[in-house]
Symmetry: C2
Subunit: 458 residues, 2 copies
């Protein structure tokens, strides 16, 4: 029997009681969100008609290092946390690597991913503020599921705008969301001006995340007592997701380990930002110097081929501007099967850290991701989400490098979720019809043409 157990579960009383706000330890802060009309930093007053008050405060708070997790959120966390830190003994053995591979597995809850960590917080704050309901959009469906679960638990009505093609292609995701009593509307819809305008122009459109965001925001600001919430990109979301990294670090300390390398998949950045938070803190404060690697799809390479610039967070161009690595808010990534990573930008916090050299990024092809996913499933008996499998690919490649060099590195990666609702993608891989669609330089240049021009800034 191995000295280090396969699965390390913290005790319930070891669950962190505070989120960690990475911005507090960044000497150079992420650039502020800008009002696209004025070009000036957005204020709390500008945010609160759209966002819940406490969440808006968290969004703008660059200083408070530790933020108490409200007791009702902790109570909710206790239903699915702590999540296990798992030693990948079988994978290590199969690869023949001297590396020690650990992964933090966030998929063992009904939302199927880490998204529930922020959903719980956002639903709670909305309820505590006395709001009447929330709206959001969902693409792949994990965020919509997580928020539906949290809203159901806290007794808050929720309307989810689901991109129409996902709504039709993933009827089971829709059903899970409905089981938790949320209203789910295929977008574009006739419930908003934005939706009606698009339907009038393109009656056969299958929708887009940009359009769904526009509808969800419009619905929120036009319904008394409603607010809009988002599952990634924002500072507040990364704050809530810090629970992932904090638990990982405590669990590693329990077994006398510390990662040489931390690897996460990167779409909007919610998982990556949460996983790396306390390790990045060590890096920022000079306590340790782990290598931190983002793995993104080659089909949507915001870190590795994007531009660090102010851009809209949505394709509808109604949100504040964020300075981030972006492919342009009009960039339409190819129909990758990792729907959760098909975002044109990257969380401003991570963008700043990447820009300042605190982390690196690689991009990987879809087919190599699914090779890693199926290998992992067979060795570790967990069927990963396509998004998560990007991190698996990164970890396997690092472990194989170690095999060549003989280095016994300690690798930690984030296994964000399970792939039960992604079997269409697995099918495409198994039957050999999956392809790798990598944007050309011309396509990327085209996407960046639409970046907003802000006098005095860019």
């Amino acid at each position: 029997m191995n000295t280090i157990p396969h699965r390390i579960y913290l005790r319930e009383d070891q669950i962190p009681r505070q989120w960690y706000n990475l911005r507090a330890d960044m000497k150079e802060k992420p650039d502020p969100l800008l009002n696209p009309g004025t070009g000036k930093p957005v204020t709390l007053e500008e945010l609160t008609p759209v966002f819940c008050e406490e969440l808006a405060r968290q969004e703008l708070d660059n200083e408070t290092r530790w933020i108490d997790i409200p007791e009702p959120v902790l109570d909710f966390y206790r239903m699915f946390r702590p999540s296990p830190l798992i030693r990948a003994y079988a994978l290590e053995k199969y690869l023949g690597t001297p590396a020690r591979i650990y992964y933090k597995f966030e998929g063992n809850n009904t939302s199927g991913s880490h998204k529930l960590n922020s959903a719980a917080a956002q639903a709670y704050y909305a309820k505590a503020q006395g709001l009447k309901g929330l709206t959001t959009e969902t693409g792949a469906g994990q965020w919509g599921t997580a928020l539906a679960e949290a809203c159901s638990f806290f007794g808050l009505p929720l309307t989810v705008y689901m991109v129409k093609c996902s709504y039709e292609q993933k009827p089971f995701r829709k059903s899970v969301i409905q089981t938790f009593d949320a209203d789910i509307i295929p977008s574009p819809s006739d419930t908003t001006n934005a939706g009606r305008a698009i339907l009038a122009e393109h009656p056969d459109t299958t929708g887009s995340l940009g359009c769904a965001i526009s509808e969800a925001v419009e619905k929120a600001v036009s319904t008394p007592g409603y607010r809009y919430v988002l599952g990634s990109v924002l500072n507040q979301v990364l704050l809530h997701q810090s629970i992932v990294g904090l638990e990982s670090k405590i669990a590693m300390e329990e077994i006398g380990e510390y990662p040489d390398v931390v690897i996460g998949c990167a779409g909007g950045g919610s998982n990556l930002g949460g996983l790396i938070a306390p390790f990045m803190q060590d890096k920022l404060t000079g306590k340790a110097n782990p290598e931190i690697i983002a793995v993104e799809p080659a089909s949507c390479p915001s870190f590795t081929r994007g531009k660090y610039a102010y851009d809209f967070c949505d394709t509808g161009k109604i949100t504040p501007l964020a300075r981030m690595y972006t492919l342009g808010s009009g960039f339409i990534p190819s129909a990758s099967h990792a729907g959760g990573l098909r975002y044109h930008g990257m969380a401003p916090i991570l963008s700043k850290l990447y820009h300042d050299g605190y982390m690196t990024a690689i991009s990987v092809n879809q087919t190599s991701v699914f090779e890693a996913a199926t290998l992992f499933a067979k060795q570790e008996t967990i069927l990963p989400a396509p998004e998560s499998a990007h991190a698996i690919r990164g970890a396997i490649d690092m472990a194989l490098q170690c095999k060549e060099t003989g280095e016994a590195k300690t690798i930690l990666f984030g296994l964000t979720g399970t792939g039960y609702f992604d079997m269409t993608a697995y099918n495409a891989f198994l039957d050999g019809t999956m392809s790798n669609q990598i944007p050309t330089d011309e396509e990327l240049a085209e996407g960046l043409k639409g970046l907003p021009q802000i006098p005095g800034i860019q």
Copy 2:
């Protein structure tokens, strides 16, 4: 914060290293399997051409109380066990019951259920015997998934005959099984005599579990080095599943609890037999007297309306005869959404214990099961499998009884799995099209007409 944590995880070194064989403590043993040709008890020699040797031995072993779990199986268990024992605080609060409700959750693995416990053992023994491959059948698909995972891990080819209508209605189950490299064949097929005969007579048939069993057995006995394995009903399966009850009992001891009531859903009996094993031991040996309740679907009421008699384990009538509560091997239950509970008989061990008064059984309607399932999902944030939701129904009803009487009973139930592949059923419930189909007395009498006549026995 509560004194008893929400989730109790044993340490890895607390995972039991032996399975518990309930038969050893039964003063009156279950009646032996009979050879349908001779009417005599089947021998090891008769079983080993179909079953793996060690499994055949376990099937016939009524005496050995504790059986060592082989180290490679323990290693496999360590990838997904121990499973959590969860205190249903939110459900208790919602119900306003003085009862304390615990559930053992077996769904946090890719098979989505407890089936992996026996699949790991069966695949390992087959590999250790040097077999070339295995065959099995699957209806709902959880057993097929579990066995595919285990066979993939131990490097053993597997052919799964999946009932054709399931194969077509649950394409994602099929894909998961294929991800683990198993061959999957819709049944009836042209790969066996049994399949060809049925196709010749009924070219449009959507298949049945009975036919799939016939095909899987034929394929096993006609392929050199292959054997057939089964995921429920058999003594060996209940033996492997004892890990569920053993872990539950240790976890409850850790928090100073012992169940007044143990509740499990009952189809073939694999989960129920495993969950109750150590508590039934206490009952058989006079150490304690917990109430033990089986919950079965009203559409397939083998305990509550069946006959205790010798019958075939399959509708194809090619297996040995088992004495059990049965509705007749020709009984076709209505198209209930809890596919895993649509079995005409009940494990011989459980049948004997029920017959001898050591446990009780209730039957519940499908719609009331889904009411319980959605209520549970919203309170406890886990989306249960329809099968598991039968136990939830039983536990909720018991907790509501406690509310009336004021008794603070300790309730333990088995939450066998998750419902991610059962959203069609949830849809039917949500849109109000789900019905309760309960067999009439005449239909049950018709089913029992086909019971085999065995001279001198029945």
